[in-house]
C-alpha cells in the first residue's frame, strides 16, 4: 500500500453536513440509524399518547374515530418499521464490524444508501396523514379489502413507502451477511462469533426471505387499487384471506426479526455483568436457528378465526407452541449464566434483567395465544395488545435501550450519568407495567382492540393504562437527556469500560476511533 493511500485510510471524520450525507463509515451510519430510530420512537410514541388520551375515559372526547384509526395504524407502522428495525440495523452497523475485527461493512456505499432511503420513506409515510381523506386507517396489518377498495387515496403513498423501507432492509441485510461471511478476522470462526453477530446473521437471512413477500403483498394491493386486478377482491374472483396468508408469511418472521437481535444483545450483556461465560453458547446458536426456521411455519396462528379447515388450525397450533421450546432454552441459558456468577447491576444489566423477566411474561401470553381453542376468545382483544407490547416494548425496545447503555461509553468515550440513568430505568419499568399489565385484564374481560371508545366496565383499567403510558412516554425524554449529556461530556470511559466485558470491541480505545481494525486482529 502506498504512503498516500495509507494516509487516506487514516483520516478522521470530515466535518459538516456532507460528513453525514456522503458517509460510508459504519460508525457514522450506525449513528444515523440510531438517531433516526430515536426520532421515530418519539413520533410513534406521541401517536400512542393520542390513542391513550382518547382511551383515558369512556366517551369520545378528543379525536374522531377515523383519526383514531389513523393513529393506531401509524403508531404500529412507525414503531415497527421506523423505530425498532432501524435501531437494530444501527446497532449492527456499529457493532458487527467491531465485534468480528473488520475495518468496515463489506459494502459501504450501499450502506449509505440503505440508510438514506429511510428518512424519505418515513417522511412519505408520515406525510400521508396530511393528504386529502386522511392517512392510512386500516391498522398496521392493513387487511384487504379495508386497505384496498375501502381505503383513503393516501394508501398508494403508504404502499410506496413500504416498498422503500423494504429496499432499505434488504440492502442492509445483504450488507450484514456479506460482512459476516467475508470479513471476519483470522481465527474468528463462526462458532466463536459473539452471539449478537450470530443473531443478526440469522435475522438478515429472515429479512431477505420475507421483505420481498411484503413487497409482493403491497404490490398486489397497488394493482388492485389502481389497475383493475382482483387479487384480494372477492367480487372479482379474488380472495381477501389470501392477503392475510401473504401478510403473515411476512409478518410472523418479521416478529422474530425484531426479537432475535434482542436475544443477541442480552446474551452479550448478561455474561459481562455476571463475570461468567455465556451458558450453552452452541445451544443458543441452535435455538436461534430453530426459532428462525419455525417462524416460517406458524404464520396462520394469527388467523385462527378466518375459518381455516380444522386440520390447518391443528397444524398451526402444534407448530406455534413448539416455539416455546427453543425460546425456553434461551431463557434458561440466561438464568444459568447468572447462576453462581459474580453479579453487579450497572444500568445495562438492569435493563437486560428487566428484559428477561418481562419478555418471558410476553412469552407466556404468547403460549396462551397459541392454544387455538382459547385463541378464539383472546383473538383481537386487548389481551393480544398486552402480549405484543410485552414482547416488543419490554422485549425489543428494552434490549435496544440496554444496548445503548452498554455501548454508549464505547461510542462517546464518556460514562453516562448514573443518577439520570437510574431515574430513567425505574420510571420506565414501573410505568411500562402500569401501562400494559392491566391490558391483559381488559382483553380477558372482553375489550376488543382498535376501538376508540368503550363501555364503562372497562374504564378503570383503561384509565390506569393511560396514566402508565403518559409516564412511560415522558420517561423516554430522560433517556434523550442522558444521551445528549453523555455525548457532550462525562467521566472518561476506559477501553474495557466494564470489568467483565470481553470481545474485540472492548480492546480498542474509547471512544472508538473513526477507523478501527485497519489491520485485522488475531483471534485466538
Amino acid at each position: 500500500m502506498s504512503t498516500a493511500h495509507a494516509e487516506h485510510d487514516h483520516h478522521g471524520a470530515p466535518s459538516g453536513l456532507s460528513r453525514w450525507l456522503f458517509t460510508t463509515n459504519h460508525k457514522d451510519i450506525g449513528t444515523l440509524y440510531l438517531w433516526f430510530s430515536f426520532a421515530m420512537l418519539l413520533i410513534g410514541g406521541s401517536f400512542a399518547m393520542v390513542i391513550r388520551l382518547e382511551l383515558l375515559q369512556p366517551g369520545m372526547q378528543w379525536v374522531d374515530p377515523n383519526f383514531f384509526n389513523s393513529m393506531t395504524t401509524m403508531h404500529g407502522l412507525i414503531m415497527v418499521f421506523g423505530a425498532i428495525m432501524p435501531a437494530f440495523v444501527g446497532l449492527a452497523n456499529w457493532l458487527v464490524p467491531m465485534m468480528i475485527g473488520a475495518p468496515d461493512m463489506a459494502l459501504p456505499r450501499m450502506n449509505n444508501w440503505s440508510f438514506w432511503i429511510l428518512p424519505f420513506a418515513g417522511t412519505m409515510l408520515l406525510g400521508t396523514m396530511f393528504m386529502e381523506g386522511g392517512g392510512p386507517n386500516f391498522g398496521w396489518t392493513f387487511y384487504a379489502p379495508l386497505s384496498t377498495t375501502f381505503a383513503p387515496a393516501s394508501t398508494d403513498f403508504f404502499i410506496f413507502a413500504v416498498h422503500m423501507l423494504g429496499f432499505s432492509s434488504i440492502m442492509g441485510s445483504i450488507n450484514i451477511i456479506a460482512t459476516i461471511m467475508n470479513m471476519r478476522a483470522p481465527g474468528m470462526t463462526l462458532m466463536k462469533m459473539p452471539l449478537f453477530v450470530w443473531t443478526w446473521l440469522i435475522t438478515a437471512f429472515l429479512l431477505i426471505a420475507v421483505m420481498p413477500v411484503l413487497a409482493g403483498a403491497v404490490t398486489m394491493m397497488l394493482t388492485d387499487r389502481n389497475f383493475g386486478t382482483s387479487f384480494f377482491n372477492a367480487a372479482g374472483g379474488g380472495d381477501p384471506v389470501l392477503f392475510q396468508h401473504v401478510f403473515w408469511f411476512f409478518g410472523h418472521p418479521e416478529v422474530y426479526i425484531m426479537i432475535l437481535p434482542a436475544f443477541g444483545v442480552v446474551s452479550q450483556i448478561i455474561p459481562t455483568f455476571a463475570r461468567k461465560r455465556l451458558f450453552g453458547y452452541s445451544s443458543m446458536v441452535y435455538a436461534t436457528a430453530s426459532i428462525a426456521f419455525l417462524s416460517f411455519i406458524v404464520w396462520a396462528h394469527h388467523m385462527f378465526t378466518v375459518g381455516m379447515p380444522v386440520a390447518g388450525e391443528l397444524f398451526f397450533m402444534y407448530a406455534t407452541v413448539l416455539i416455546a421450546v427453543p425460546t425456553g432454552v434461551k431463557v434458561f441459558n440466561w438464568v444459568a449464566t447468572m447462576w453462581k456468577g459474580s453479579m453487579t447491576f450497572e444500568l445495562p444489566m438492569k435493563w437486560a434483567l428487566a428484559f428477561v423477566i418481562l419478555f418471558t411474561i410476553g412469552g407466556f401470553s404468547g403460549l396462551m395465544l397459541g392454544i387455538a381453542p382459547v385463541d378464539f376468545q383472546y383473538h383481537d382483544t386487548y389481551f393480544v395488545v398486552a402480549h405484543f407490547h410485552y414482547v416488543l416494548v419490554t422485549g425489543a425496545l428494552f434490549s435496544i435501550i440496554a444496548a445503548v447503555y452498554y455501548w454508549l461509553p464505547k461510542w462517546t468515550g464518556h460514562m453516562y450519568s448514573e443518577s439520570l440513568g437510574n431515574w430513567h430505568f425505574w420510571t420506565s419499568v414501573v410505568f411500562v407495567n402500569i401501562t400494559f399489565f392491566p391490558q391483559h385484564f381488559l382483553g380477558l374481560a372482553g375489550m376488543p382492540r382498535r376501538i376508540p371508545d368503550y363501555n364503562a366496565a372497562f374504564a378503570d383499567f383503561n384509565f390506569m393504562s393511560s396514566i402508565g403510558a403518559f409516564g412511560f412516554g415522558l420517561s423516554q425524554l430522560l433517556f434523550l437527556a442522558l444521551i445528549i449529556k453523555c455525548i457532550k461530556g462525562g467521566e472518561k470511559a476506559t477501553d474495557q469500560v466494564w470489568e467483565g466485558a470481553e470481545g474485540l470491541e472492548w480492546e480498542i480505545p474509547s471512544p472508538a476511533p473513526y477507523h478501527t481494525f485497519a489491520e485485522a486482529p488475531e483471534v485466538k
Binding site: Q57, P58, G59, M60, Q61, D64, N66, G133, N137, Y143, L146, F150, A234, D239, P240, A274, R275, K276, L278, S283, V306, G307, V310, E313, L314, M317, L322, A324, V325, V329, V335, M338, W339, K340, G341, S342, T344, L353, T360, F364, L367, M368, A372, V374, F376, Q377, H379, D380, F441, L444, G446, R450, I451, D453, N455, A456, A459, D460, F463, I467
Partner: protein
Amino acid sequence: MSVRKLKQAAMMLFSSVLAMTSSHAWADKVLNLTEGVTEVSRNAYQMHMIVLWICVAIGVVVFGAMIYSMFAHRKSKGAVAATFHESHKVEVLWTVIPFIILIALAIPATKDLLLLEDASSADVTVKVTGYQWKWQYEYMDGDAEGVKFFSVLDKASNEARALNSGVDVSKVDNYLLDVDKALVIPTGKKVRFLITSNDVIHSWWVPDFGFKKDAIPGYINESWTRVEDEGTYRGQCTELCGKDHGFMPVVVVAKEEGDYKKWAAEKKAEAEAEAAAAASTKDWSKAELMAKGEAVYGSSCAACHQANGEGTGPFPPLKGSALAIGPAAGHIDIVVNGSKTNPLMAAYGAQLNDLDLAAVITYERNSWGNEASIVQPKDIKAAR
C-alpha cells in the same frame, strides 16, 4: 387540557385509587376470562386456566431461580464467578421437559378445537352478515324462517358516542353494548351461524359463547352454539372494519323455546305487514315519510353523514349538497345503487325496502334547511 377535563381526570384518578384499595371493589372487577354459558366457552375457560397455571408455575421456578441468584451471587457479597458454561444433562432436560408439557397441553386443546369447529346437525341456522357498521341476521330455517333484520347500535349509545356529546356515558345503560334489535335464539338448541360480510372483514364475537368468527366477503364461515340458560349476551365486532368498528355490538337474546316461537310468529307478522306497506302503491304524506325517514336515517346514514347532515372526514355533507337539493333521480340513484366513484357509499337498494328508501331520501331532501321534492315508494320501484 381544559380545567374541567383536568378536574375530571383528577377525580377519576382519586376514585380509581379508592376502588383499588377496597377489596370489595376488586371482587366486582372482571380480571379473568368469562366461563360463559356454553360447553365451548367452558372448555376455553378451563384450557385458559390450565395454561395460565402452567405459565405461573414455570414463572415461579425460573424467576425464583433468577431472583435468588441476583441476591446470592452478587459481587458485593463476595461471590466469585464459577467457570462452568455448559452441561449437556441440564440442557437436554430443559428441552425435553417443556416438550412433554406441550404435548400434555396439545391433547385437550385438540379435543376442544374439534368440538368448537363441529357445526354439524344443527337445529336452527342463522345467517349473519357484517356491514359497515351493523349486523344483519337472517333465519334460514325453523320457526322464524325468512325473518331478516338489521341490528344496529342503540339510539342512546349512538347519541352519547358523538365527539364531545356532553353525555355522561357511565349513565347510559349498556353503553356501546346494546342494539335496536337483538338476535333471538332458542335455548337448548344447536344454533348454526353462517357468517359472511357485504363489504370489509368483520368478526362476530359473543364472549359468553366462547368463540369469534370472521365475517369475510366472498366466504361463508360456519360456527355454532348451544346456550342452556335464558339471558341477554353481549359482544362486539372484533376485526377492524373502518371508522365505526367500535360501534357495532352483537347482542343475542336466548329465549326458552315457547317464547322463541312466540317471538318468531310476531316477527313474521311484522315482516308481512312491512312488506305489504312497502308494496302498496299509495302516496304517502310528507309528514309520514319524514317521520319514517328520520328513523331510517338514524340507523343507516347518520354514522357517516352525521345526524346534523354535515358529514365528517371523507364522508360528504348532505346539508345543502347539490345532489340532495337537485333533481330526485340523481339522489335516488346514489342511494339505491351506491356511488360509482366512492366505495364507501354502499348500495342501499339491497338493504332497505322501497318505502324506507323513499322515506329516507325524502328526509334528506327536506332536513337541515334542504328544501326539495318528496319521493314516493313507486319512484324507487321505477328507478330500480
